[in-house]
């Protein structure tokens, strides 16, 4: 109510108005039918590369539609966990189950690099994401819809080489979204972007997650990104889940708010404590 009153007052900033609409949409969203995302259950998951045991027994349940962020130091196994979930690596021991029958198009990954085909125009790059449904008659219409979703419908005929880094990543997001996935795994998707582009991409990720209601798994080394976006933050240390933190801060979250900063600080402390470095740091 307070939000609404502020919006009505004449000297309110336009930002507040956008926030207000967002809030209304969120309220509408939460009253809707349950998520169409897939739940994910992992039991006793292990993975080694040679002598190096990267994952040492991961047990995890992610309910349908949850936004989970996985953070950890580099080499902690977070990317390996994501690649195993996406089926890009073979499992040494343990199980990953989605609770029901899945199509290959249900699980999609977005990487740090956009991985666009440089010799295909933007629209056909998005069509690649349709997988086996590429040949269907509505393929082009679906690709156009996905491009509009990420705000790039005017770039459909361009070569990827002329796009900026952020735009390429948005095309990659459209390609991941076009098959209406039920789990979307992000492997540091914003790692190579500049600070401002990152923030607008984070908003975009949050929006599409809310609109399309998939289960989101975000691997990131940026703790502030994790707490800003996720319902739940998993901290991985030495191949195990060391902390499982629920982020109860209501959305939309204000970047730089005290709640977020406090949570980010406590997670960073956990991460730093585990370092085998002299205590006087």
């Amino acid at each position: 109510m307070q939000e609404a009153l502020r919006f009505l007052s004449p000297d309110a900033e336009p930002v507040d108005r956008a926030d207000f609409i967002e809030q209304a949409r969120l309220a509408w969203r939460s009253s809707e039918a349950p998520s169409r995302g897939l739940p994910l259950t992992i039991r006793g998951l292990r993975k080694s590369f040679g002598d190096n045991e990267v994952l040492r027994g991961i047990d995890l349940h992610i309910p349908a539609g949850q936004f989970v962020a996985i953070v950890g130091r580099s080499g902690c196994g977070k990317s390996t966990l994501l690649r195993l979930i996406a089926g890009l690596e073979s499992i040494d021991a343990g199980t990953i189950s989605f609770g029901q029958e899945t199509r290959p198009e249900d699980v999609r990954v977005m990487f740090q690099e956009p991985r666009l085909l440089p010799w295909a125009r933007v629209l056909s790059n998005v069509e690649v994401g349709l997988g086996r449904e590429r040949a269907s008659p509505d393929a082009q219409a679906r690709a156009e819809r996905a491009l509009a979703e990420v705000g790039l419908d005017d770039k459909r005929g361009q070569w990827p080489a002329v796009l900026s880094g952020g735009q390429k990543q948005r095309v990659a997001l459209a390609r991941a979204l076009v098959s209406d996935p039920r789990i979307l795994a992000f492997d540091e998707p914003l790692g190579a972007l500049d600070a401002l582009t990152r923030i607008s991409m984070q908003r975009l990720l949050e929006r599409v997650w809310r609109d399309q209601a998939f289960t989101a798994i975000l691997v990131t080394h940026d703790v502030s990104e994790a707490v800003a976006l996720a319902d739940r933050v998993l901290v991985i240390e030495n191949g195990r889940i060391a902390h499982d933190i629920h982020v109860d801060i209501p959305r939309p979250r204000r970047r730089g708010s005290a709640d977020l900063a406090a949570l980010e600080g406590s997670i960073l402390r956990e991460l730093l404590q585990s370092v085998d470095e002299p205590p006087d740091l």
């Binding site: 198009e105 990487f111 991985r115 085909l117 010799w119 295909a120 690649v128 994401g129 997988g131 086996r132």
Partner: protein, 268 residues
């Protein structure tokens, strides 16, 4: 943005069609200087005939039909040999780039053969085929094979593995992966091979025709030497230069058509 775009470009004069003409200024100047040097007696006609004399010799040969016949014969040999050697090189390049087994099986052998200068095989080829057409085709095909093989192999190997992984994730079949990811990725490198091969194609053909032929441009030049017709000899050399340039231009056009996505081939 738009106001910046509309500012006049100050990057020198831009005459229409000037780009196409500018490359011919230097060759034309050389011909001009050559003509003047011959007219003034600076270069004796026995050493180098004037361009006008060469043109006259060309005109006479053209009227007799001999020139067109010889150019056609040489062109046919070059094209056929190129297609044969190029296709085999392309096939081996793909096979060895895509299959470890094929690579282990054949690459060492091919590398050994590559280190034999193919023109060193001329005596052997004459013994095998005589001065038959097949001798020239064999040599051209052999010469063209290696640049295309090596560059196709390199192109296939250098396709970004992240793109291949992406293609697999998005459910591309092997055929689709080849058509949409591997082949387009290898194409820039394949074109480098094609342009190398075109150079080797002419070189091989000239040598083969001067040594073992009874028709073609190389034969025409060798016969002219017998009769001391230096103008015809020079004419043949100039025709080789023009044909070489023509082949390269065709390759460039193809390159521009198929690699329009590549930043290096984008106009702006």
């Amino acid at each position: 943005m738009s106001s910046v775009e509309s500012l006049p470009r100050v990057r020198g004069l831009r005459l229409p069609h000037a780009d196409g003409l500018i490359q011919w200024i230097v060759p034309l100047a050389i011909v001009l200087i050559w003509q003047i040097a011959c007219e003034t007696g600076l270069v004796p006609a026995r050493v180098l005939p004037a361009p006008s004399d060469v043109a006259l010799a060309g005109w006479k040969l053209l009227l007799s039909g001999e020139l067109a016949r010889n150019i056609w014969v040489s062109f046919w040999r070059a094209a056929t040999g190129f297609v044969i050697g190029g296709s085999i090189g392309f096939a081996f390049g793909l096979a060895n780039g895509l299959s470890q087994l094929s690579n282990k099986l054949t690459d060492t052998t091919l590398q050994m053969v590559r280190n034999v200068p193919h023109l060193a095989l001329i005596p052997l080829v004459i013994l095998w085929f005589g001065i038959d057409e097949s001798a020239k085709l064999f040599l051209v095909a052999l010469g063209v094979f290696f640049p295309i093989y090596l560059n196709t192999l390199h192109g296939v190997r250098s396709v970004d593995p992240q793109l291949i992984e992406m293609g697999r994730i998005y459910g591309m079949s092997d055929g689709e992966l080849f058509r949409r990811v591997i082949f387009p990725g290898a194409l820039p490198s394949i074109f480098v091979g094609v342009r190398f091969a075109l150079g080797i194609m002419w070189l091989t053909l000239i040598v083969a025709e001067t040594i073992a032929a009874s028709s073609g441009l190389g034969y025409m030049a060798m016969q002219a030497r017998e009769f001391m017709q230096i103008d015809v000899v020079v004419l043949s050399i100039l025709i080789y230069a023009l044909l070489g340039k023509l082949a390269d231009s065709v390759a460039r056009v193809l390159e521009r058509l198929t690699l329009s996505w590549h930043p290096a081939f984008q106009k702006h």
